[in-house]
């Protein structure tokens, strides 16, 4: 991808900026995987880096790198599609570039503080300067405010460009969705001594991001991808996008209830949470069928005509198809089987949640964002038809094997935890450690580490591929065929 500095055939500055966001995103993705490997090792060998670089630190950087790389890739994706959709350059591109460097500097400082200072005394100063100690949104308050400012600049760019340029359906969804996404972050920026109140609002950020606004964001990206890659009809794609928005927000917003079963909130959340979270897989099924339908249809058209192949960017298309599948599998199946309160009282806070988290974040978000990176590379080199290379395929195979292997391991660990620690022993200190010491748990953790290494190998292939695919010769013959057809 660095190669795209040399080959930078973008028409728009906005798209060059998008590549910068993608570059940082991929570095943070690597950091996330490394931290995951450290934490996974500590599960097996607790003395590894003990009191030097503890599990809590590795895990904090692991999940923060995850959130931040995804936000970077999401912002990058928006800058990539903004000129395409609106037909004009981003309005405040200079400000946008400045915001990128400010954000990257701030992220670097936050991560260095996490790694080297780790914890502070129990005072307001720690929350302002070191870390806020709230899972996923640990960023200290100064960084919170910085993030808000940068996001406002980004949002200004999107909104003003939208107002000035063409107003497509995809852009309308994005403008509304990003507003909600950015606004929700404010819910995580206050302190209270009341842990229940704390978690009530904390879930507004976390749940309404990953199970509502991010999902709609992914729907918009998939819609854009289908138009760009397959040449799907815009009207049809946008009609489906609105139906998906309806179903995702219709189920996802009140699906928030499934986090309010046990945090001190009233019992009525049981029914609300169960009902709406049971509906949550429905839009995922619809998205799954829709992507495959469009693919099959356009491929059918292409074969009927002379074009031969409908897909203009096969790595991106592969990742979007994997997204449709992964979203259903990770968010749908792995979410559904422990979401009902009758079951959740046993599974809440076990490795089940970890299994679901790993597969859902990867399946629903990492996949499509990687697809967007391939779209960016295609544009950087102005490749007519981008084909998979050997490295693309290796990356896909290894990343998927790794994530599925980890998920299955964690599911087995979670199942054992539910039976022994929860159903039988009823939780507590001894119950916890009895369950942690059983061979089922230890072997599951062993396989999790192995599968993490598989995933990391896949990541190396992915980076190598993004660096080199622009110059690969696979596209050349296709290009000449395409030129002949045209």
């Amino acid at each position: 991808m660095l190669g795209s500095i040399k080959s930078n055939k973008f028409q728009y500055e906005s798209q060059k900026l998008a590549m910068n966001y993608f570059r940082v995103a991929i570095v943070l993705f690597g950091a996330q995987l490394l931290m995951g490997l450290i934490a996974a090792t500590q599960f097996l060998y607790p003395s590894f880096l003990f009191e030097v670089y503890d599990f809590s630190v590795a895990r904090m950087v692991h999940i923060n790198a995850l959130v931040v790389w995804m936000l970077y890739a999401m912002i990058g994706s928006v800058y990539l599609l903004l000129p395409d959709e609106t037909g004009i350059e981003a309005v405040g591109i200079k400000l946008g570039k400045l915001a990128f460097w400010v954000l990257t500097a701030a992220v670097t400082v936050v991560v260095l503080v996490y790694i080297f200072i780790q914890v502070g005394p129990g005072s307001e100063a720690t929350i302002w300067l070191i870390n806020e100690g709230r899972e996923y949104i640990e960023a200290p308050r100064w960084a919170d405010i910085g993030i808000v400012v940068v996001v406002l600049i980004f949002y200004y760019n999107v909104f003003a460009t939208y107002m000035k340029g063409e107003k497509t359906g995809i852009m309308t969804v994005l403008v509304a969705d990003l507003f909600a996404l950015a606004g929700l972050y404010l819910c995580g920026m206050f302190f209270t001594s009341n842990i229940s109140m704390d978690q009530y609002w904390w879930w507004w950020v976390i749940h309404l991001w990953v199970e509502a606004t991010w999902e709609v964001f992914v729907g918009s990206l998939a819609a854009y991808g289908l138009i760009k890659i397959l040449g799907a009809k815009r009207e049809i794609v946008e009609m489906w996008l609105w139906i998906e928005v309806l179903m995702l927000f219709g189920s996802g917003i009140l699906g928030l209830g499934h986090h309010y079963f046990w945090i001190g909130t009233p019992e009525y959340w049981w029914e609300i949470g169960a009902l709406f979270s049971a509906l949550e897989p429905v839009p995922l099924v619809a998205m799954f069928v829709h992507v495959l339908y469009d693919w099959g249809k356009e491929q059918g058209h292409a074969e009927a005509g002379q074009a031969g192949h409908a897909v203009k960017n096969s790595p991106a298309m592969a990742w979007i198809a994997i997204n449709a599948f992964g979203n259903f599998l990770g968010a749908g199946i792995w979410g559904f089987f422990h979401t009902l309160p009758q079951v959740n009282i046993y599974t809440h806070g076990t490795q089940f949640t970890a299994a679901h988290g790993h597969l859902a974040f990867f399946g629903a978000y990492a996949t499509i964002l990687i697809g967007m990176m391939y779209l960016g590379v295609q544009r950087a080199y102005a490749i007519e038809r981008m084909r998979m290379t050997f490295k693309t395929k290796m990356a896909i195979a290894l990343l998927i094997t790794g994530i599925l292997g980890m998920t299955v391991s964690l599911t087995i660990a979670g199942y054992e935890q539910v039976l022994v620690e929860r159903a039988d022993l009823g939780g507590g200190w001894d119950a916890y450690f009895i369950a942690q010491n059983l061979p089922w748990m230890l072997q599951a953790m062993g396989w999790r580490l192995v599968m993490g290494l598989v995933m990391f190998t896949g990541f190396i292939f992915l980076v190598a591929d993004l660096f080199t695919i622009g110059k690969a010769k696979e596209h050349a013959e296709q290009e000449s065929v395409g030129a002949a057809a045209a």
């Binding site: 599990f55 895990r59 100690g133 842990i195 609105w242 806070g349 507590g428 001894d430 450690f433």
Partner: protein, 221 residues
């Protein structure tokens, strides 16, 4: 089956409006539920405690009372039971003192990043035991940890452990030394005791069972 050329079902405007209406309705419902819930999860007052008024989240002064977690026939699961008064670190804490202590405890909990190993109310990381009812855990109440730390009361044992966790290992997976001071440790114990009095709709379930199974008795103090 009208033979109109265009069906409303394929109208983008129709779906856009439907999406807006459904989203709007869901948001309004969520707002309404939030107002109700916020009312129910606001902390109670010291008077509530004195008058035996049950609150889902009791006042910070709940640290001055004995707390149990017992099966409730009506609700079909365990609920916290607030009992008689007891001293906490050898004194009774006034409303202001208790509130300040709880605040310090919560700040420390965040500053020391507890949630990236432990779960609190079931949320967090899965590397260490859940802390929701840690105050009531048999490990502290059956003499094990008081014995190991050489303290007489649960609160003193907990504070001692928090200050020097790796000096009292019970498992290969140890808690690291986080530089917790004496004041922070006391505040953290108050935070944990307060959390154990939160009505979590029966989570964690069968909490006393491990004690019965392992010790042949209840975990009562």
């Amino acid at each position: 089956m009208s033979e109109k050329k265009v069906s409303v079902w394929t109208s983008i405007t129709f779906w856009r409006r439907s999406a807006a209406w459904v989203t709007g309705t869901a948001v309004v419902l969520l707002m309404w539920l939030t107002f109700n819930t916020i009312g129910q999860i606001s902390m109670g007052t010291d008077e509530d405690l004195q008058n035996g008024v049950k609150k889902r989240i009791p006042a910070p002064t709940v640290i001055n009372y004995k707390i149990d977690y017992a099966y409730d026939e009506k609700r079909g699961h365990e609920v916290p039971v607030i009992g008689e008064k007891e001293l906490f670190f050898g004194k009774e804490w006034s409303a202001d003192e208790a509130a300040e202590l709880l605040r310090h405890g919560k700040l420390t909990q965040q500053a020391k990043n507890c949630m990236n190993c432990h779960t609190l109310l079931g949320n967090g990381a899965y590397y260490a035991p859940d802390l929701t009812k840690a105050w009531l855990d048999p490990k502290w109440n059956d003499g094990t940890m008081t014995g190991i730390t050489g303290k007489d009361t649960v609160e003193e044992a907990m504070a001692e452990f928090l200050m020097h966790p790796s000096q009292f290992p019970t498992h290969a997976r140890m808690m690291p030394n986080l530089g917790i001071t004496k004041e922070e440790a006391i505040a953290l114990v108050a935070f944990l005791k307060h959390m154990s009095a939160i009505d979590t709709n029966g989570f964690p379930r069968n909490f006393s069972q491990s004690a019965k199974r392992l010790e042949g008795g209840t975990h009562a103090w």
